[in-house]
Symmetry: C2
Subunit: 647 residues, 2 copies
């Protein structure tokens, strides 16, 4: 009888030995990893691997082929032009004409918002769309001046030069900013550093856009109420003060009446179009119709003699060259470059967001870096031809899409139409009332305020919502720049808080599996008596949280021990397994705190084991000689750690 | 024959069904977790749970007991005093006297560095150590003025008031800064916000201390060379310019000779002590011996008549009250509070670092928050009694420890000794040469420069080393504040870069286990054909990296597919499992990028599955309605995901 029993024991023993041997071998896997790439190497590697995707550097054999493929990569129009059919052009022509009818009044209004003469808005709707058509990859995007960029430009540049007192000097500064913005955009694209435009989080953008829309709306009160002495500040309080004080003086109601009635007209057309999708062209041409009607009314009633402000002279003709107006040696160059950078990022963020959303609908991929290069060149060349910063417009792109555009050709149609108007029709706009431009801008603003998305952000993440509200309040009550700064700061502070928050969670074994889970997340998880399995809630164990985490773990262990004593559990805690699988990195303070933990546990008769370290982390622990200090108790997984203690 | 086979099949089928049923149930575990606490709740919870540990708020029954335990918690001296034995006092007396002999010359020297009259240094060695003894928990720390804080104070306060032109006004500002620093320190302790002192990473501190030591050393050239017109700036270049221009003029070599010879004397005593541990007292009393000898030499040779600068009059007597000198309404209050905050943090960082390192040696726990309260009150009361900011000194604490101190009583002995000297001996210091003070300060500086630790940091983490060097270079070539700012910025930038670096790793199954590991970290890991298992290298998927990560994964999948086609593998990739176990958080941009990935895969006939989401992440994915979009393919682990696809 003894023999089989003995046998079994031996066999069990052998099995256990074998198991242990395997376990030891697997511990060696953890400890003897190859040297990981350094963080700097990795980041440089990322940059290089993206660099290699730059079309110009991707030479293939055959000089002619090569040249043509280079040209094709730089000018995507060469690709899609080959398959361009008359049927496409029919659609693009219709879309382009619709676009132009919306674009002409908007361009004049936005130029007004940018504190430039009206023709500069029209110029900006001619050259940049043409350049973009040659180089861009989006098929729907409508290029030209937009409200937010116009506001940004005027609010920042007028701190350097007063647009009323020195319109020519102010215009030179705006052109220089345009040049810088284009250069930055092209550089971002060429160096594949498109991630820079990601620095403005979605939540921050929603708040910023809504704030900017309200600020732009308030600026329109100038035109709508015919106020002559308006403020240069953009915050709500300054603007409302001016509006309030203007009510004290006698004021002319005609401007307001004219603006409001046409605003209501445009809003009604939009309402109709929403009811019946086929009427999409109605709100698109409503602004032009309003301009024509209002101009006629003023012309016929001579209302300009009765206090209605009119646009007056618009300089006609093609964009004049402005190369000699760029200012690279003056006291403001640094400041202009800074403004250029901010404008470049906001313009790209807006354009790529709008481009992507329509590309997804039509199911094609938008190359962010190519877009940036295209936008950059269109603004650089724009700055040579009297344009200010152009980008993709939310509202006009939607109209372009609804009008059934097929390719970027619709932008060409639009540019040509605007060009013809510049040549022939500017004289007709002499009597256009300023109030009508204000109402056209106002009618485009609701699209910038996305209350639904803000609610959604609130639902998903409270801290993101804080960034959103921060940007909104900052833009509204301080300046546009402060709003941006607040949003970026909150967004990055959130990253820091989330990655170093000093928390731990207790893990338990999930029944019928080998997996371990947070006992709060998975209430069915079972703790093993005598063992405490913990996981850090932070992604880094570093100077900023190492002490806190150490004290947290100590406190937790002490409480768990008290608890198990109270429950008269058979076993008090003997082993603490620390799962560090989610630690991305550890620094000297973090290693020191682990060492201190180990010493504390050791003096209390407990053992510390480390499970599942990542590559970088185990490498650093080895460098700091931590592994021998804790008796080599580093394991591949929690399960392996448990097995090694024969639990 | 058919029957058993059939049976087996049925049984297999049943088993598989059962298995699948289990798997489905476990998917429900993942999806039906309780609602996780919000980040804000969690952070507030952390604060509250720490608040509860404040002794004053932890009332127990019994008013008398309660009061006494409150008193004991506030004044730890009441606890250790009860067990204080004569034998302890013998050790403390010896240590205290040794400490005093080092402290008196250092205090005068540091007061000089802080651009205050010598007696203020001595005052600072009387009151703060006494208060600390009542409230502090460290047994070894030696309290008093220290070099770095003296430098910080003088370099920042002299921008507001010239210490040469208006010594009284300057002194008032220093007192006010001391008050602010104390208030901040006490507040940090009371509100358990000790994590604030962790904001200066270990690496940054090493660099900062080394830079400050060199700057302090350069400042000593004034005393050592007897330069009368020194610069107020602290950067290397300004100081070396002044020194260079002073060489152009005729100069007096006596100061230099005197200072250097005694510096060499002190360094020799230190060298002897390092050779023979029993001679630890030799470098401790060497400064006092130097002062006595040098003073005697000057007195006997009348060297002060030959150009040797001497200390001259030191005001004797006990600390005068300075309550009425604090300035809370002046133009500088905001600036003074800012300086107070910086000084408070640096002082605490130094004191707690030195206190902890000795507490670890003696094996007791140092309560960081209690320490901060003690330091805070000692500086507040110090500011009422003509002291400037005191903290724990690196060099003197080491001497105190070597001299065998048992409790904080040695600080009392030291304070009493300094007090007696103030009453009786200040007249004897009239002829003390300034150069000797410079050499005493210089001799204490090498302890602040830790080249070994810098090498260690370089070895373990290159980015940490960058923070270290940034602080060093900033302090050396710009100002102390800029050095600190650079260090803090680099440290936090590192946290951001590590937690959002846009990388992915491919996982494979580790042989003989159920675990999956990075194929680069574990070269033995085996990939399953037809399945691509990926894990993010970042801790957050958010606005800043979502696009990048999405493009990375797409590129990787395309490459893997090409690769498997090249290898003529049986299966192309059909399933992409994304292990997101290390994602601490996700925001709307992150979710959008996952959705886009899913759509891309879907249109290429691949399936995306998510494995092992954390609590917060799955909660947000559910809120954003992501789970049904990917067909509910969210699993507990990679293994479960594989099982569900029957691989």
């Amino acid at each position: 009888m003894a023999s089989p029993l003995n046998n079994t024991t031996t066999s069990d023993q052998e099995m256990a030995d074998l198991e242990r041997h395997d376990c030891v071998e697997r511990v060696q896997w953890v400890l003897n990893t190859p040297k990981p790439p350094g963080l700097s190497q990795e980041l440089i590697g990322t940059a290089v691997s993206w660099r290699n995707k730059v079309p110009f550097l991707n030479m293939q054999s055959g000089l002619k082929n090569e040249l043509f493929s280079m040209l094709k990569a730089t000018f995507p129009i060469l690709s899609w032009c080959q398959n361009y059919k008359p049927n496409h052009f029919k659609h693009d022509l219709l879309a382009g004409l619709t676009l132009a009818s919306l674009c002409i009044p908007q361009s004049i209004g936005y130029a007004n918002l940018a504190k430039l003469d009206p023709q500069y808005g029209l110029y900006t709707s001619v050259v940049p769309p043409l350049i973009y058509t040659l180089m861009g990859t989006s098929r729907e995007i409508a290029i030209g001046p937009v409200a937010v960029i116009s506001l940004l430009l005027s609010s920042m540049v007028q701190k350097l030069e007063d647009p009323m007192a020195n319109p020519i000097a102010y215009h030179k500064l705006v052109l220089t900013v345009t040049f810088f913005a284009g250069t930055f955009q092209a550089a971002f694209g060429l160096f594949r550093s498109g991630f820079l435009i990601d620095f403005l989080s979605h939540a921050a953008l929603v708040g910023f856009m809504a704030g900017a829309a309200i600020v732009i709306g308030l600026q329109q009160l100038k035109g709508l109420l015919g106020i002559t002495h308006f403020t240069n500040k953009t915050d709500v309080i300054s603007v409302l003060k001016v509006v309030w004080s203007s009510f004290q003086h006698p004021w002319n109601p005609y401007n307001f009446l004219l603006g409001c009635s046409f605003l209501i007209f445009i809003l009604i057309t939009r309402f109709l179009a929403r009811k019946n999708k086929k009427l999409f062209w109605l709100p698109a041409i409503a602004p032009l119709v309003s301009v024509v009607l209002a101009t006629l009314i003023v012309f016929l009633t001579k209302a300009d003699k009765h206090g209605v402000n009119i646009v007056k002279h618009i300089k006609g003709g093609l964009n004049p060259s402005s190369v000699d107006q760029l200012q690279f040696n003056g006291p403001h160059v640094g400041e202009l470059a800074k403004i250029g950078l901010i404008v470049a990022i906001i313009a790209l963020t807006e354009a790529i967001a709008v481009g992507r959303s329509f590309a997804v609908i039509k199911g094609y991929h938008l190359d962010g870096n190519k877009e940036m290069v295209a936008m950059g060149f269109m603004n650089i060349i724009g700055s040579f031809t009297s344009c200010y910063v152009a980008t993709g417009s939310f509202s006009r792109t939607a109209v372009n899409f609804s009008a059934g555009c097929e390719t970027a050709m619709s932008n060409i149609v639009m540019a040509v139409t605007v060009f013809i108007s510049l040549e022939l029709l500017t004289k007709l706009l002499y009597y256009t009332p300023v109030a009508i431009l204000a109402s056209i801008i106002l009618s485009a603003l609701p699209g910038l305020i996305d209350v639904n998305e803000a609610c959604n952000i609130w639902k998903v993440d409270k801290l993101d919502f804080l960034a959103c509200i921060g940007a909104f309040v900052g833009v509204l009550f301080a300046t546009v720049e402060i709003g941006l700064l607040v949003a970026v700061t909150i967004s990055f502070a959130k990253i820091i808080v989330v990655s170093i928050r000093p928390g731990t969670e207790t893990l338990g074994k999930l029944p019928e599996t080998d997996a371990f889970g947070d006992v709060n997340q998975y209430p069915m998880a079972v703790k093993t008596p005598g063992v405490l399995i913990m996981r850090l809630k932070s992604a880094l164990l570093c100077f900023a949280n190492a002490n806190f985490v150490r004290e947290r773990i100590m406190k937790w262990v002490i409480e768990e021990e008290k608890d198990s004593k109270l429950r008269n559990a058979e076993k008090t805690i003997q082993i603490v397994i620390l799962d560090i699988s989610n630690l991305m990195d550890i620094d000297t303070s973090g290693i020191a705190s682990l060492e201190e933990l180990h010493e504390n546990f050791d003096s209390n008769g407990m053992k510390l084991a480390i499970a599942n370290p990542r590559w970088q982390v185990i490498h650093k622990l080895k460098l700091a000689n931590f592994v021998p200090k804790i008796g080599g108790r580093v394991f591949l997984s929690i399960g392996e750690a448990m097995a090694s203690f024969s639990i």
